[in-house]
């Protein structure tokens, strides 16, 4: 552990948490209970995420501009068998030691669901399925919260991008005079759709990494190799740096031919073009829940500036999960199918036991995302500032200022940082 006495104590509201971060810890207190919860939920999150990233890429690459994409959530086997680049024997960079194809629990769920074996269509109509709408909502949050840094988003407005999109659109609607005529009349309408599809690809590529990271963390925990919250956080930090410059691109396959809308050669990288915008858009900002805020312009409940949005998972009120108008419910329902048994046993002991597991796991998820955000903050500090054991007090001071500005964002009353410090928040 690093000595923290080199600097006088912080006067920040969250001084205790800042000292913990300076000592190499996470925003989440380091208790075995917390570790058990966050690792358990990483696994429950990774299985639907394994579906999300595959389907996001499928939509971006194959469904593309289909005007009536009725079956966009019906993942073909080729995408279930698609090899994750960070798992399996042929991985570019092996993060998870498991299989590169879809996770067995996911395959089992697709086949049987909760209601038993039936056709995919019936599962879908019976709503016995993965709530892919949640992944799309995250994608749309990234798409809409533009200007969060990075070069990916400005690139979508460049002539190169438009030219590539134009080529793909014309190829896709080849022999379809109606759509081609529409494209002629309203070209921006189609270009904008392609931009959205580029974000599908972006998020899909982001989650391809995270799924592998979370699976590996679960395995390490079970092997007894992850024993504390800082270790878990550091695993994510190391993962972030390992995959930081993996490419972000958008490829489309039309009639067997590859169209590179955003080629890998553009040099967009995972950390700056996917991970950081994702954290900003989904963990911090997203959009106000329809069920908790009024969009009435006179009521002024929703801020005017997008940078002031604070409706992400770090701020979300999880208690109304299950209500109408609370989007995270979709994710909580997805995770509910894949909880490890130790987490189910844990939830049974508290509150309403199995009856309110949806909310208990939601709060665990919130804790775990504070751990991920801690990893992101530490990674940013490591990338832009100084090591924690730096001997120069000026450098340590710069680090502290960085941490303090980061934690300023949690001063809002809605922020759940205070709540997750205590185990009583369930």
């Amino acid at each position: 552990m690093i000595q923290t006495t080199k600097l006088p104590p912080s006067k920040h509201e969250f001084a205790e948490i800042i000292h913990r971060l300076e000592a190499g810890g996470a925003m989440l207190p380091d208790t075995p209970e917390n570790l058990m919860q966050i690792i358990g939920i990483y696994k429950a999150y990774a299985v639907p995420m394994d579906f999300y990233w595959r389907d996001l890429l499928y939509i971006a690459e194959r469904v593309f501009l289909n005007p009536l994409p009725f079956f966009k959530y019906f993942l073909p086997n080729s995408y279930l068998d698609l090899h994750n680049h960070y798992a399996g024997d042929d991985a570019d960079l092996r993060v998870w030691r498991g299989e590169a194809t879809a996770h067995p629990e996911l395959l089992e769920f697709i086949e049987k669901g909760e209601s038993g074996k039936k056709s995919k269509l019936l599962h879908h109509l019976w709503h016995d399925r993965i709530n892919m709408e949640f992944a799309e909502a995250c994608m749309r949050a990234m798409f809409w919260h533009r200007g969060m840094g990075g070069k990916f988003d400005p690139y979508l407005d460049t002539p190169e991008y438009k030219a590539a999109a134009d080529k793909a659109i014309k190829a896709y609607f080849q022999g379809n005079p109606v759509m081609l005529g529409l494209y002629k009349l309203f070209p921006e309408m189609f270009i904008e759709q392609v931009r959205q599809l580029s974000y599908y690809s972006n998020l899909g590529l982001f989650w391809e990494v995270m799924a592998a990271v979370f699976f590996e963390m679960f395995d390490l925990y079970n092997e007894g190799k992850l024993t504390s919250v800082p270790e878990a956080m550091n695993f994510i930090v190391n993962g972030i740096f390992a995959v930081a410059d993996r490419p972000i691109y958008h490829h489309v396959y039309i009639r067997g031919e590859l169209y590179e809308i955003i080629p890998k050669s553009c040099g967009f990288t995972w950390l700056f073009e996917a991970a950081l915008p994702y954290v900003e858009a989904v963990f911090y900002r997203t959009a106000p829940f329809r069920g908790t805020k009024s969009y009435n312009a006179q009521a002024k409940q929703v801020p005017e500036n997008q940078k002031d949005f604070h409706y992400g998972i770090l701020y979300a009120d999880v208690f109304p999960v299950g209500n109408a108008g609370i989007p995270p419910t979709l994710l909580m329902q997805d995770m509910l199918h894949f909880l490890p048994s130790f987490l189910v046993d844990y939830y049974k002991q508290y509150c309403r036991g199995e009856d309110d597991m949806l909310i208990q796991l939601g709060i665990t998820f919130q804790r775990s995302m504070y751990c991920v955000t801690s990893a992101v903050i530490q990674a940013l500090r490591q990338a832009t500032l100084y090591p924690l054991d730096d001997s120069d007090p000026e450098h340590l001071k710069a680090n502290r200022e960085f941490f303090e500005t980061q934690l300023d964002r949690f001063k809002r009353p809605e922020a759940r940082l205070r709540n997750i410090q205590s185990q009583d928040y369930r």
């Binding site: 009120d317 208690f319 109304p320 299950g322 309110d356």
Partner: protein, 497 residues
């Protein structure tokens, strides 16, 4: 046949109360439940054999008990008492089923509940005035104990207040009955043998006023109502259900049976005043409920308001309005029971009844969604939303009384709008909004706690959609009561000429 309804609960009370040894509450509950079920079965049996075309006493049982006093054991049932008997059996069952698995002193508790049932059933069945007073007083002591032992903080005050008010009510009723019988030189206290026709008008008015005050306390009418909010609020939920659901009906029952039934002509003279007092009750109950900050107190004041409709209907004294009055008694009994039950569930789970603290109970995972949904339904039923029993009863009342008392009726309709106002306030603060994350770790509601409300909800909906099952019992009796008063009015006017 009718005695069974009195003997079973009394024997049951003795059996449960003096059960040797230490019996766990759960076992006693099962025994009491079996007794309550047998009462329901017996009530259904009576209803099946009941002759709908006969307005008079049916299944009469008479034997001389203390002839020197004129006290005969004279039971009978007619269209006025049958629906209330059924309500009594149902609510007793619900109270026993829904509560008391871990009550303190279970023997005494169940024994008293059965005694209340016996007292109420006896009063509804009595065709002898002294016998009625006997049962009327019999129900007083167990209820006093039920409030005083199992009530909440201020139970002592509330119980004593209830006891004094109801005892005064009993004394007035007894005085009225003695006066009627002795002054009219009736051979006994038997209901059918008494005729007040020969009495001078001024005597009849005095006797009627005594009875009106006596029953008015029990109903309660507005200036005499102050025992009610305390007694209802300080009682435990099952006792509140019995108090509001069925005991208050003794007052309105007495009003129809004895005030209207024994003074059919004189009633016409006091009727305008009664209509006004009833209307004041309705308006006062609604306005007072709007001002409350405690949900149980709101429901208690709503009870005062809803009993007022019965007074207006009884005052109008048309065949339709009397059917409406009886229907409203049953409707109010069911609705008040479900509301008090649900308020009780909210209080035990959330730990408060304050409007300013309650919030977001509709939340499906962490809140009390089922309870809230039924609470909304109960509030709507109470406010007179069509499709539920409250509307059916209130509409018959309004329809029946408008021709006689148009302005009081219109004021009552306005007040039923105010009912909607305070129920919307209650539902908005309680069910809507969001849960408080620091406190919202409420225990879940188990099925046995939901079941009573579910049974009542089914009854409320069924009678709201098929109101014929509500009114068919009392049509003939109502017609007969109106006919009787018309005949006497004619004779009065002849006499005045």
């Amino acid at each position: 046949m009718l005695s069974v309804l009195i003997i079973i609960p009394i024997l049951g009370a003795i059996l449960v109360g003096f059960f040797p040894g230490n019996i766990p509450a759960e076992k006693l509950r099962k025994v009491t439940l079996a007794i309550a079920v047998s009462l329901i079965v017996w009530t259904v049996e009576i209803a099946l054999k009941f002759d709908l075309n006969n307005p008079h006493w049916q299944f009469q049982e008479i034997f001389a008990w203390i002839p020197q006093l004129g006290l005969t054991y004279n039971l009978g049932v007619d269209g006025l008492s049958l629906p209330l008997l059924a309500l009594n059996s149902l609510l007793t069952f619900i109270v026993v089923y829904g509560y008391g698995n871990n009550v303190e002193r279970p023997k005494l508790y169940y024994s008293l509940i059965l005694l209340v049932n016996a007292g109420v059933a006896g009063a509804f069945l009595s065709a002898n005035l002294l016998l009625f007073v006997l049962f009327y007083e019999l129900e007083l002591i167990p209820i006093y104990l039920l409030i005083a032992i199992w009530g909440s903080e201020k139970r002592g005050y509330a119980a004593t207040k209830f006891l004094i008010y109801t005892a005064v009510s009993g004394i007035l009723i007894l005085a009225g009955f003695l006066g009627i019988t002795w002054l009219s030189n009736s051979p006994s206290f038997d209901y059918n043998l008494i005729s007040t026709q020969s009495l001078p008008l001024i005597t009849k008015l005095i006797l009627l006023t005594i009875l009106l005050v006596g029953f008015g306390i029990k109903i309660p009418l507005v200036p005499l109502h102050t025992w009610l909010p305390d007694a209802y609020v300080e009682s435990s939920p099952p006792v509140t259900i019995l108090l509001g659901g069925i005991l208050a009906k003794l007052g309105t029952y007495g009003l129809l049976r004895f005030c209207l039934g024994l003074f059919p002509g004189t009633w016409e003279i006091v009727a305008p005043g009664m209509a006004i007092i009833g209307t004041i009750s309705v308006l006062y109950g609604a306005l007072a409920a709007i001002a409350q900050q405690d949900i149980k107190r709101m429901v208690a004041y709503s009870s005062i308001g809803h009993m007022g409709y019965i007074i207006v209907a009884a005052a109008a004294n048309t065949p339709l309005s009397l059917v409406g009055a009886i229907s409203q008694m049953v409707a109010h009994g069911l609705i008040l029971a479900i509301l008090f039950h649900l308020v009780g569930v909210v209080e035990t789970k959330v730990g408060t009844r304050e409007l300013s603290v309650l919030n977001g109970l509709m939340s499906p995972v962490r809140g009390l969604p089922f309870t809230s949904a039924l609470l909304i339904m109960g509030g709507m039923a109470s406010a007179g939303i069509p499709g539920m029993v409250g509307f059916a009863a209130e509409f018959i009342v309004f329809q029946g009384s408008f021709s006689k008392f148009p302005i009081p009726t219109l004021l009552c309709i306005i007040a039923s709008g105010l009912t909607a106002v305070y129920f919307v306030i209650l539902l908005n603060r309680t069910c809507f909004g969001k849960l408080d994350n620091n406190t919202a770790y409420y225990p879940k509601v188990i099925w046995s706690e939901r079941a009573p409300a579910l049974v009542l909800a089914v009854a409320i909906f069924f009678l709201g959609i098929q109101p014929i099952w509500l009114v068919r019992w009392s049509e003939e009796t109502s017609n007969f009561l109106v006919l009787k008063s018309q005949i006497e009015i004619q004779s009065i006017s002849q006499y005045l000429k």
